[in-house]
């Protein structure tokens, strides 16, 4: 009932943890069998290792949190050497999130991951709000977004999903541009740029000044964007933003997502993904859906 085939991703269920909220799965593997998951969007890989931003990197907000980690990761070669072999033992689909400071960086990371059978598809991160170069800069302009997508498609031996930023005037325009450039699917949304100030010092709580807002606070925005983009493109959508329960998943499916990612709520309840997967069939049934397909895009019918 929960199976779905998407470009590169043969999912036993539509639930996967979002990139940056699950590391490379090691911490959660101590708690449950990762083979339960439809897939895993692993932490961003960059060409070189990155320490990321100074601390504090985290601030709580009403119904959400700000983060400015800054793509901390050990670099693509180390990921290939130590993390992918670890993930190989699990029967789940791996969506490798790819980031870089320049277009060339993205391409080089993809080239190195091309030979890794553990990776089933790529997720181009052109939407990270917490790095000075690359990231959101590439995702805010339809021409630049299309260009990096085209370059990635030229070298990638696996399907390319593009993770879009909500920090744009018109996300539909960007989605259409990456579709035209050959993207196999889109993932929306990444975090929204936000700030919090310390009442004692009057300075930003987060050392990076701004951070990306995630959590239930952004769910209505994510739903709206999935809904609008679904009407405008013909490639599949993975929905992400503020999911905390199976009912939230259903809402994303109705809006037009074919699968979903669970982000910050993994930090609050580390068992949230298996819980949602367990509850999803009953929730689908309750609202009259015999299959995932019944629910996908239902709000448009």
């Amino acid at each position: 009932m929960l199976e779905i085939k998407l470009p590169g991703l043969d999912l036993k269920n539509p639930v996967m943890p979002a990139s940056g909220c699950f590391g490379f799965g090691r911490e959660y593997a101590e708690l449950y069998d990762l083979s339960i998951l439809g897939g895993i969007a692993i932490k961003s890989a960059t060409l070189e290792s990155r320490f990321g931003n100074p601390t504090p990197r985290i601030a709580e907000t009403p119904s959400g949190m700000l983060n400015a980690i800054g793509l901390q990761n050990p670099g693509v070669d180390k990921i290939i050497e130590t993390e992918l072999p670890f993930l190989k033992q699990y029967d789940t689909q791996i969506l490798a999130n790819v980031a870089g400071a320049t277009e060339e960086d993205y391409i080089e990371v993809i080239k190195r991951l091309n030979d890794c059978p553990e990776v089933h598809a790529y997720e181009l991160n052109i939407s990270c709000p917490n790095v000075k170069h690359g990231g959101i800069g590439l995702g805010s302009d339809p021409k630049l977004a299309a260009n990096i997508t085209r370059m990635a498609k030229e070298v990638a031996t696996k399907p390319v999903w593009v993770k879009l930023s909500p920090n744009v005037t018109n996300i539909v325009e960007i989605a259409k541009a990456v579709e035209a450039a050959g993207a196999d699917g889109v993932v929306l949304i990444n975090t929204l740029v936000g700030m919090r100030l310390d009442l004692h010092t009057a300075k930003p709580i987060i050392a990076n000044t701004t951070g990306g807002l995630s959590g239930p606070a952004i769910k209505p925005i994510a739903i709206r964007m999935v809904y609008q983009v679904y009407q405008a493109i013909n490639i599949p959508i993975i929905g992400v933003g503020g999911i905390t329960c199976a009912q939230d998943v259903l809402e994303f499916l109705y809006a037009g997502a074919s699968a979903v990612q669970v982000g910050m709520y993994n930090f609050i309840d580390p068992y949230i993904c298996p819980k949602i997967i367990e509850e999803l069939p009953a929730v689908l049934k309750k609202y009259g859906c015999d299959s995932l397909q019944d629910a996908i895009g239902r709000s448009h019918r």
Binding site: P56, M65, F267
Partner: protein, 248 residues
């Protein structure tokens, strides 16, 4: 780590803005000195990481200071309420074989050191304790450490009790010469101790999101290899003295 529903058996103010809570998990996990628990609170998104101050047969205690809205809400929790807690988390203080040890606590850094002192006392290690507080009203656990059999010295910043000044002032005033320390407290205190001592362990506090090592919110760098980093929630909060870089 387990995800537990813990019953609150007590929650009382023991010093200015400082509360002690007794929790009883459904199934008591093995909690080691220096480990912490991550508590979910109604109306707040992120959990609150709080160190465990003492462990008993089927209960444990935490001591926390009201510093913001979250800890304020925690202070309002009533006896009999049930809390959703992830426990225990982090790398504990190893209780090494030692003749004598110096325990140094600052403010809300004092609580995890109580269980450390208990376990050292159980092994007949001679335990000397130096505690620093802002003032006499903020002070707690002087008697509790004494009852364990520890020599206890207090410093207060305003001089309202014990030695006026920091824990280092109290150590100098009482001519304490013990080379292995176990400490927890504010960053500036830990930094001063890191420069003064070379043996022992320091426990750090940090803003955390997940508390289990996944989010990379609470990292610090190695003092020598700048490429190497640690997660305070996972490899820490306890680190051997000298291991962590204080500049980031």
């Amino acid at each position: 780590m387990i995800s537990s529903k813990d019953a609150v058996l007590g929650n009382v103010e023991i010093a200015k803005d400082t509360y002690e809570m007794i929790l009883r998990p459904t199934k008591m996990p093995n909690i080691l000195p220096g480990q912490f628990v991550n508590i979910q609170l109604d109306g707040f998104m992120l959990r609150r990481p709080i160190s465990v101050s003492s462990v008993y047969h089927n209960t444990y205690k935490i001591i926390y200071k009201v510093v913001g809205e979250g800890t304020k809400a925690l202070s309002k929790v009533k006896r009999g309420q049930i809390l959703d807690v992830l426990e225990p988390l982090g790398t504990p203080f190893p209780i090494d074989e030692l003749e004598e040890v110096l325990i140094i606590g600052g403010g809300v850094g004092v609580p995890p050191l109580y269980e450390v002192a208990r376990q050292f006392c159980d092994k007949n290690t001679k335990v000397t304790v130096v505690l620093g507080f802002n003032d006499k009203d903020s002070m707690f656990y002087e008697e509790d450490f004494k009852i364990l059999g520890c020599d206890v010295y207090i410093a207060t910043m305003d001089g309202s009790y014990g030695t006026k000044g920091t824990v280092l002032d109290a150590i100098a005033a009482h001519d304490i010469h013990i080379d292995t320390i176990y400490s927890c407290g504010p960053m500036r205190m830990l930094e001063a101790l890191n420069q003064t001592y070379s043996k022992g362990y320091l426990s750090f506090e940090a803003r955390m999101a997940c508390g289990i090592g996944a989010c990379m919110g609470c990292v610090c760098k190695d003092s020598k290899d700048k490429q190497l980093y640690y997660r305070i929630c996972k490899e820490g909060p306890v680190f051997p003295i000298g291991k962590v870089d204080f500049t980031c």
